[in-house]
């Protein structure tokens, strides 16, 4: 490698500071996918028969499906037989474990990511974390303190063992394995993820979070999150994701299901920073995610907030099914694409109940040669008297080689519904940047100021500490995009 190449690589690594790998013994399955692999995953996790059945039905359905091509994405062919579907970063014992049993390298990894697994080091002492590396949850903090209130927060594998009735009742009830190609794949091979149950009348006293980390090479991550908010409960849940820098693409296909019962409220926030690939579009994570919540109860509320800066390809539509009367769905999104990243992201608001309301605020930011599409559906069913939706989709362009697209769909079957849609496209001009320069503000900081100003409405919805991180992330993701 020439000296200048080495320097460029060093710079690139500085920009994606999560790009390191952890040297830890990992038990990785042979590459490839067939019924036997599905059975192996299930038996490795000691799962009951009903769950193996669920996986096998999903797998068989998946084999009849093809990858969806309707998104505004250039999708390369993915060879599903070239991926390993299970990677476990250490040998670990079943059941409850102490920190001593976690490989020190894994501990270090999460420390380096700013996610301490020792409770005394937790961010402001008020965030519980489920840390997932590759296919397994390595540690869930503050479980005991939460248990005092009857809150269940654990890995989904543990939930299958300890609370099988709850999992069986809700798993697949919002996102069926028949929902789409990637949902079928995930349902067949999902490895770990988080499970949350907030009992009736309980307000969760701390933020709950899951931190997803891909480490092993040649593997995919297929996590599954299930959140149930019982009547009159409240929880705020955060999700963060990073991966090492690798020249090959890695597949991430997750499912998040949320059930919100009468008068309950769930806030779900994501900062997605999977490795986006390098400045030539080499490598990066393919992120195909199905996230959906069901507001089943009257006056229930579900709010999605996402800051999407990572991944080579993002295909993701966190949605709300509003069947409870007066239920509320919200979607706040900032999606940044730079270099050769592609994003097709948005939401679906399905109004089924009377007087249901939804709000969509989407802010796309495109730079470099990237492509950034908003795709959203607002559907109002026949019985959704008085349904209301307000959508605002803004695009901000940096440079003239990137693309921004908006695909809003409306499907209205009740004439009392009020549906509003606003859209705008703007550009950061060189004159704006120069004005900042003249006042002593460096170009990178000027872009940071302008972009954060543009995304303010969404960033304000994030929990405080997350918001600060997200602001920094926006600036870093756009480094080198102007001038």
């Amino acid at each position: 490698m020439s000296e200048s190449n080495a320097f460029a690589k060093q710079l690139a690594e500085e920009k994606y500071k999560y790009g390191f790998t952890t040297d830890v013994d990992t038990d990785v399955f042979q590459r490839g996918l067939n019924e036997e692999v599905v059975r192996q995953i299930s038996s490795r996790k000691g799962e009951p028969e009903w769950l193996l059945d669920f996986r096998l039905r999903a797998y068989r359905h998946w084999t009849t499906q093809t990858c969806p091509r309707w998104a505004h994405l250039k999708l390369p062919e993915i060879d599903y037989q070239a991926i390993s579907y299970y990677a476990e970063p250490m040998s670990r014992k079943k059941g409850p474990q102490s920190l001593d049993e976690i490989d020190p390298e894994v501990m270090k990894t999460f420390d380096k990511l700013g996610i301490p697994l020792e409770e005394r080091l937790a961010l402001s002492g008020n965030t519980a974390v489920d840390a997932v590396m590759d296919s397994v949850s390595v540690k869930t903090t503050f479980k005991e303190r939460l248990a005092e209130k009857g809150i269940i927060f654990c890995s989904i594998s543990e939930a299958v063992r300890e609370y099988p009735d709850l999992v069986r009742q809700y798993l697949g009830s919002v996102v069926s394995y028949r929902d789409n190609f990637f949902a079928a794949l995930n349902s067949a091979v999902f490895s770990d993820g988080s499970f949350v149950y907030i009992p009736e009348g309980v307000r969760c006293p701390m933020e709950l979070s899951t931190y997803f980390r891909i480490n092993a090479a040649g593997t995919g991550q297929f996590e599954r999150t299930l959140i149930v908010a019982d009547k009159d409960s409240y929880v705020s849940y955060l999700e963060g994701c990073t991966a090492p820098m690798r020249d090959e693409n890695q597949l991430h296909a997750a499912i998040v299901e949320i059930i919100v019962l009468d008068r309950a409220e769930v806030k779900y926030s994501t900062v997605q920073n999977w490795y986006p690939g390098d400045e030539n579009g080499q490598g990066g994570v393919f992120n195909f995610v199905t996230k959906r919540g069901h507001c089943r109860g009257v006056n229930s509320k579900l709010s999605w907030t996402q800051v999407e800066t990572g991944s080579a390809i993002t295909w993701k539509y966190p949605s709300c099914v509003l069947s409870g009367e007066n239920s509320v769905g919200e979607f706040y999104s900032v999606a940044v694409t730079n270099n050769y990243q592609q994003a097709d992201t948005g939401t679906k608001m399905i109004h089924l109940g009377r007087n249901t309301r939804s709000t969509i605020i989407s802010k796309g930011i495109s730079a470099g040669h990237s492509s950034n599409a908003y795709r959203g559906l607002v559907r109002v069913g026949e019985k959704a008297e008085g349904a209301r939706n307000y959508s605002q989709c803004d695009s901000l362009l940096l440079g003239d080689k990137c693309g921004a697209h908006t695909f809003p769909y409306m499907d209205i079957h009740n004439e009392t519904a009020i549906v509003e849609h606003e859209a705008s496209t703007s550009k950061i001009s060189e004159e704006q940047i120069f004005y900042c320069n003249q006042r002593g503000i460096k170009t990178e900081d000027a872009i940071g100021l302008i972009v954060n100003g543009y995304a303010k409405e969404v960033l304000n919805k994030l929990p405080m500490e997350f918001a600060v991180e997200a602001q920094k992330l926006l600036s870093v993701s756009l480094e080198g995009s102007v001038g």
Partner: protein
Amino acid sequence: MSNNTNEMLNIKNLHASIAGKEILKGIDLEVRQGEVHAIMGPNGSGKSTLSNVLVGHPAYTVTEGSVTFRGKNLLEMAPEDRSHEGLFLSFQYPVEIPGVSMVNFMRTAVNEQRAYKGLEPLSANEFLKLMREKRALVGLDSKLANRSVNEGFSGGEKKRNEIFQMAMLEPCLSILDETDSGLDIDALRIVAEGVNKLHTPDNSVIVITHYQRLLNYIHPDVVHVLYEGRIVKTAGPELALELEERGYDWLKE
């Protein structure tokens, strides 16, 4: 000369072009500490080009000559460093930056300047106190200070906001580019009073203007006439009055 300790700006034989077209064709200009210079001239003579070149606007290319600012080679510096070194431009057409509050904008600017000088950033309280002081000094409405940078400001408000930023950044040399354009007489007076309050024996001002009327309020020590990319005449303040009376034609040879 560079051994002159109170020299602020020294421009020698400056040539500059935009899109391959030469606009400045050999400018010589010396400004000392404490002085106020006026640069006048007809439209298209290169006045705005000169101010843009000095602050390092990327659209312009310097093809020949040198510029020394407080003993340092100005042309080698990035635009933000020229600002940190104490050069300020009050823009003829200040740009709007939607979504960026004046508070955030100024705080970033002030703290980047402090970092350049090796000073700690101001705390939120110190900063807001500074904002209040300077706002009072130039008579900027608190409502404007809470809005996005220049967004929806009237022409007069934008110019007043420029002078407010000048007050915040305390530059050594301020260039006022057609600050009088688009201002009615009351707005003109308020802006000029702000400039006068900020002027001290230690800092200098270059007033670029088409008309003499701003010079009724900001009194120059030296007046230059720029024509076709060259300074064709330099004299005392009486020159401005003469130009007002006779126009520019008699200088065009």
